[in-house]
Symmetry: C2
Subunit: 117 residues, 2 copies
């Protein structure tokens, strides 16, 4: 697994789900993905798909902050823009194994993404 | 500014504030620091000190997840352990300028760090 490959997989995943193309996004994800998300630990692709698929339609845009790559690990910081906010950052820490995202730590502030006032 | 230096400054900062040594932590921070924190943008060292100093005493430990370095930028993912939770991650994206932390994007889920039930 080269650095480029881990990065390209995460970039493909990120571009897909943020365009609400959940099928392409899930092509980048291992069946046994484990994701620590705010308030919930997600186990397996079905549960992960449901979580991401539930949030993706609310996106109106993405603001990039930073990307880091270190071997098979990739980190993204970005602004998920929604009707509620475009200034609340999210951070994701991915581990890529055998060409698929196998672990994710997803950090955002749920309070900031509540319904618009 | 070498990569090692940016990393060493952020490590010094991180070790200090997570040990509730706020004075040492603030020695690593620029007077005009700008920090995007959950629900608030902090401007200047005084406001930043108040924010970090308010949270630090609640810490009971730290669980490391990952560290990334890219030039003058450093990212940390970790578990701030408190009475409320030890499984809610935080992510910080630092920019170091002239040997001091000048910008920070701090991400965590405020709901997870509420008072213990």
């Amino acid at each position: 697994m080269s650095h480029t490959t881990a990065r390209s997989i995460v970039q493909r995943y990120h571009r897909a789900w943020t365009s609400n193309d959940i099928d392409t996004a899930m092509d980048c994800v291992a069946d046994d993905i484990v994701c620590r998300a705010p308030g919930i630990d997600l186990h397996g692709k079905e549960q992960y798909r449901e979580f991401i698929g539930g949030f993706a339609p609310a996106l109106t845009g993405i603001g990039d902050i930073a990307e880091y790559v270190d071997g098979d690990r990739v980190a993204l910081f970005y602004y998920p823009q929604t009707a509620a906010t475009d200034t609340a950052p999210a951070a994701e820490h991915f581990t890529v194994r055998d060409g698929l995202i196998s672990e994710s730590v997803l950090v955002f502030d749920r309070m900031a993404f509540g319904p618009p006032e």
